[in-house]
């Protein structure tokens, strides 16, 4: 009984230390947001080198991921830098590996948002390495596997992603981690969708929708958004619009700019299917501009091609050409994938004379989506008609 009490007291002393460190860090970290660029080249004050400080930085990185992924990345990297400088043996296991792994997790998430998929996978590998230093971090490890599966799906490595999701599902269920289990089902449905297995994706989402607790509006929003997209493609336009508006409202309430924008992108697709071209064009312009302001170059480029497509359908050829020119310029300025630049340059050159310009836009758009996979082939122009 005495041993239990001693163990309990030691545990509570660590809890007290971490809690007070975190409370002390809160105001400093809030102030850092205004001057984050300067602190990189200064010395790290000794009082910052605490697990609580690292946790607070990681938490801010997570909070701002949606609204500012670049800044989120900087905060997560700073968290990692500070975690690195904490002398070993300062905390009992598993505090050090857990805070380092959590910083890597946020680094991975930020890279994914910016479209830097290889960097995201490297960060997740590093998180696994950190977690493997402790016996007690199986849950954190499983969450990293789920995050990796999301990146693999982004890279169109669907079979690997599905395999990872299948392996992680029972682990998360054993922890009764309903939230992440639902995300596994959602991701599985997304992959079915990307593979063109629309009915399987719809069935997976409809079955899971009832399982989502009402206090998880993000997950509910994500389900509604994807289901809306799928209904749109299955021709169930009214149900699609209802779902997408519902999702948009939930994300807006949560202040998740990136997700609101992705939902509006899906909404534009459904509006396009109804034939309301001016409305779709207006939505796509706004979606593209928001992606640009969030430094999400890949997505702003793809939204630009959707916009060009809608403009061509609306017989606004000059504006469509201008959009393609703009997207090309952005890719060149940001030194993005040279094969994407080749494909966009081809589109710019071919648009003025193409007999079926939408076919050319579609060809390049599909190629840009393929480019997320490192195994994507070199760009080939459409065969001449």
């Amino acid at each position: 009984m005495i041993a239990v009490r001693e163990g309990r007291d030691a545990f509570l002393r660590t809890v007290a230390q971490l809690t007070s460190e975190r409370a002390a860090a809160r105001e400093i970290v809030a102030n850092l947001r205004a001057s984050s660029s300067e602190l990189w080249d200064g010395d790290v004050p000794g009082e910052w080198r605490t697990a609580g400080f690292v946790q607070e930085l990681t938490s801010v990185a997570s909070e701002i991921l949606e609204s500012n992924p670049r800044e989120s990345l900087a905060f997560a990297q700073l968290a990692l830098a500070i975690a690195t400088s904490i002398p070993s043996g300062t905390y009992p296991a598993p505090v050090q590996p857990q805070i380092e792994g959590a910083a890597w997790k946020e680094i991975g998430a930020a890279h994914r948002y910016i479209g830097e998929y290889d960097a995201a996978l490297r960060a997740y590998d590093a998180a696994h390495r950190a977690y493997s230093a402790s016996n007690a971090l199986a849950h954190d490890d499983a969450v990293i596997d789920l995050a990796s599966a999301i990146v693999l799906a982004d890279l169109t490595r669907y079979e690997e992603a599905l395999e990872l999701l299948a392996s992680v599902d029972p682990v998360l269920r054993a922890f009764d981690d309903h939230k992440h289990v639902v995300q596994v089902r959602q991701m599985t449905a997304n992959i079915y969708y990307f593979q063109g297995r629309l009915q399987e994706a719809r069935a997976e989402l409809e079955a899971s929708l009832e399982e989502i607790p009402f206090d998880e509006p993000y997950t509910r929003g994500a389900f509604c958004s994807t289901l809306g997209l799928i209904y749109g493609q299955l021709g169930r336009i009214q149900e699609s619009l209802e779902m997408l508006h519902k999702a948009r409202g939930m994300f807006a309430d949560l202040g998740m700019t990136g997700e609101v924008n992705r939902t509006e992108w899906a909404l534009a697709g459904t509006v396009l299917a109804t034939g309301d071209l001016p409305k779709a064009i207006q939505l796509l312009r706004s979606v593209r501009n928001t992606f640009l302001s969030l430094s999400m170059a890949d997505d702003s480029g793809l939204a630009g091609l959707d916009l060009a497509d809608a403009l061509i359908a609306n017989r606004q050829m000059d504006e469509a050409r201008q959009i393609v020119e703009d997207v090309l310029g952005e890719f060149v300025t940001k030194k993005l994938n040279h094969r994407a630049i080749t494909a966009l340059a081809y589109l710019r050159d071919v648009l003025p004379t193409a007999s079926r310009p939408q076919r050319a836009v579609d060809h390049v758009r599909k190629y840009l989506k393929q480019l997320r996979s490192p195994a994507a082939p070199a760009f080939l122009p459409l065969p001449e008609e």
Binding site: R8, F11, L12, L39, A81, R122
Partner: protein, 174 residues
């Protein structure tokens, strides 16, 4: 007032964790000893690791009991897997010195100095040196992580090494 509120909030939180600890500690230790045949001392250490991991999860755990039981089972399995990798030494090996310890007199102070040197550089250098030397990132990978060119990343790593060397030397000066 804020401090009082914070102190109150902490006392409440600590009570919560204390209660979770007391409700589950024996169950966790018993599970490890009974199901995984691990010595009680190791089982207690595993239980403490699990409790801290649980605390660091904050409020994200909905079902504490299920989470803790699953965490301890996974921790016990991981512990056994790691232990299974330990191979007993042959009796004659007692006579042979461990080749890893051949230069321990020189290597150990070097390692300690390396760690200390890491700790006295700027945040930018911490991350650059960590990526390059602890995580094994290539220079192009460091560049991608820091959103810069490989040439600048190469320079940065070199400059950070120099900074670590200079500052560590300075610390040793009277």
């Amino acid at each position: 007032m804020a401090v009082e509120l914070h102190a109150g909030a902490f006392a409440e939180r600590a009570d919560d964790f204390g209660a979770v600890y007391e409700e589950n500690y024996h169950l966790l230790v018993r599970t490890v000893v009974k199901h995984y045949h691990i010595a009680e001392l190791d089982a207690e250490a595993l239980a403490h690791e699990v409790f801290l991991a649980y605390f660091l999860k904050g409020d994200t755990v909905i079902n504490s009991r299920a989470w803790l039981v699953s965490a301890i089972s996974n921790a016990a399995k991981y512990f056994l897997r790691r232990r299974a990798r330990h191979v007993p030494l042959s009796p004659e090996s007692a006579e042979i010195p461990d080749p890893h310890l051949e230069r321990v007199g020189e290597a150990l102070p070097d390692q300690l100095a390396g760690r200390e040197a890491f700790a006295c550089v700027t945040a930018r250098c911490q991350i650059a040196l960590r990526l390059r030397y602890l995580e094994g990132y290539s220079i192009p990978e460091v560049a991608a992580e820091l959103n810069t060119t490989p040439r600048y990343a190469q320079k940065l790593v070199g400059r950070c090494l120099q900074q670590a060397k200079d500052r560590y030397r300075k610390r040793g000066e009277p």
